[in-house]
């Protein structure tokens, strides 16, 4: 009999304890980030889509050579002493964001950027041509690149 009452009391008590844990969550701010509207905080060293300083690039093909998945396609044209980029395409269906391309670049003109989302209806839409100056992640001379990866900035 004593045990019977004890079990009822235990049941009631544990239910109340459970409620006291769950109910306060109703009044807490939800943890969810409303992603397309709210952008999460991206750390400065995020390895996202590349930032590319077009005027510094000397078309030396180092980045294309080291890329483990061969996703950088470069075409250039020699004009006098300089090379002019015709195409600098990175195929983001292949790129694995390893940042290896940033390391050998003699002019430090290819860097990893903070953008982490890229969508398209076709595969071609995620092949981005950095030789196109209209590209928002292609930077011309004198422009400040946001978030250059600190460890690569060898001064």
């Amino acid at each position: 009999m004593k045990n019977w009452f004890a079990r009822i009391w235990h049941g009631l008590k544990t239910t109340l304890i459970g409620l006291s844990i769950t109910v306060p969550y109703l009044f807490r701010k939800p943890y969810t980030l409303q992603y397309p509207e709210e952008v999460p905080d991206i750390p400065e060293t995020e390895r996202g889509l590349h930032n590319f300083e077009i005027d510094k690039c000397i078309a030396c093909y180092q980045c294309a050579k080291i890329c483990p998945v061969d996703c950088i396609a470069i075409e250039d044209e020699i004009k006098g002493k300089n090379a002019v980029l015709l195409k600098f395409e990175i195929d983001y269906t292949k790129c694995l964001f390893c940042a290896l391309c940033c390391e050998p670049c003699p002019t430090e003109c290819i860097l990893m950027g903070p953008t982490f989302d890229l969508v398209g209806y076709t595969r071609d839409e995620v092949i981005i041509d950095y030789a196109d100056r209209e590209n928002p992640r292609t930077w011309s001379a004198g422009e400040q690149i946001p978030y250059p990866i600190a460890s690569f900035a060898r001064k």
Partner: protein
């Protein structure tokens, strides 16, 4: 409500008769009554279904640190409507091995059983669809009727999960029905009537100490346990967690409605919320004073005596409170095993409810 519905249906009957050019007779009255009943049902089903499901999902979200539906319409209010449209548009699959007539009938039985319960509820002074003398009895009968539909669905699906769900429902019904009925008898004995209106009237006056659960203070000794028993059995009757064994999505796929798709599934989904609401309503009538407020303003001679909106407000508040508490419990407690349900119902609730019944009778004699 019945007072308003009758003239409307008479008017519709007259209009229909005039349209056809025949003298009004029983045929037109029947059609008019069907139309009015459909209209009332639509008025009840829509807010109950949409509101109930929305609140449940919102609560579930917030209790799990999520936001819940928030994309369709302002604050996600139209999410349920969108889901309803989706259900309507889905294919209605009836597997060849099912017992088709029973399979088709089952959702309607559940639907009718769950939604008819609203008929006997006194929402406010003068607002009750069917002021029956045996309202409590009818309500308990309707809960049992709903169960038949579930067993039917489980049996006719010809699917092991559904059958297991149906069998669990049977096992659960025979265990919770007894304490549910006996706990409901405590207010009936105390008030001396089986009519929900009568029980509500009995609790008028005296504010919170007029309510049966705290009547004159000392009634609490039997009424608080009886209330808890009725509440727990009511949870089991509405198949809410921790008593959602017939459905048990993590073990039985979806239990008795595994084989149902499209609107037939919707017909199982909406009644759950209807049943939760009507059971909350009956609980508030039986124990929490129905439409009487805790300050005694709605009792005989009070400021708001027989004021319908004041009554409706308090009935709404109490029912909503119980409804929300059911949702909170669902997202707090894990599902019980069937033997634990049996233990709870037969060994705890049943003796306790019998003790409450005897205690109520003794207090009544005092």
């Amino acid at each position: 409500m019945i007072a308003a519905a009758q003239p409307v249906s008479t008017a519709i009957a007259d209009f229909l008769a005039e349209l056809v050019g025949m003298p009004p007779n029983w045929f037109f009255s029947a059609i008019a009554m069907l139309l009015v009943a459909t209209g009332v049902l639509m008025l009840v089903v829509t807010p109950v279904g949409l509101g109930g499901v929305y609140i449940e999902r919102k609560f579930a979200g917030r209790m799990q640190n999520r936001r819940g539906p928030n994309r369709v319409g302002p604050y996600g209010l139209l999410q349920t409507l969108a889901d309803g449209v989706k259900l309507l548009a889905k294919e209605d699959i009836i597997a060849p091995s099912t017992d088709a007539p029973l399979f088709r009938l089952a959702p309607y039985v559940v639907f009718i059983g769950a939604f008819t319960g609203f008929v006997v509820l006194p929402y406010a002074p003068g607002i009750v669809a069917g002021p029956l003398d045996v309202g409590v009895l009818l309500f308990l009968a309707l809960i049992a009727f709903e169960t038949i539909g579930i067993v039917m669905a489980g049996w006719s699906s010809n699917n092991k999960w559904s059958l297991l769900g149906g069998m669990r429902e049977v096992a659960q019904v025979v265990s919770y029905e007894l304490p549910l009925g006996i706990a409901a008898m405590c207010p009936v004995i105390a008030a001396g009537t089986m009519s929900l209106n009568g029980i509500t009237d009995y609790q008028g006056g005296g504010g919170i100490f007029g309510w049966l659960i705290l009547r004159n203070g000392y009634w609490a000794v039997v009424m608080v346990p009886a209330f808890l028993i009725f509440y727990v059995s009511g949870l089991a009757a509405a198949k809410r967690a921790p008593f959602d064994l017939p459905e048990a999505e993590s073990e039985l796929v979806a239990g008795f409605h595994t084989e149902y798709s499209g609107m037939r599934f919707g017909m199982f989904f909406l009644p759950e919320y209807a049943l939760m609401l009507s059971i909350s309503g009956v609980t508030s009538v039986l124990f929490l004073g129905g439409y009487h407020d805790p300050f005694g303003l709605s009792g005989p001679g009070g400021t708001f005596h027989d004021v319908w909106w004041w009554g409706l407000l308090w009935f709404f508040l109490k029912t909503t409170f119980l409804f929300l508490s059911q949702i909170c419990l669902r997202w707090t407690l894990p599902r019980m095993r069937i033997d634990q349900v049996m233990y709870l119902c037969y060994k705890v609730l049943l003796p306790a409810s019998l003790a409450c019944l005897v205690g109520t009778a003794a207090l009544r004699l005092l």
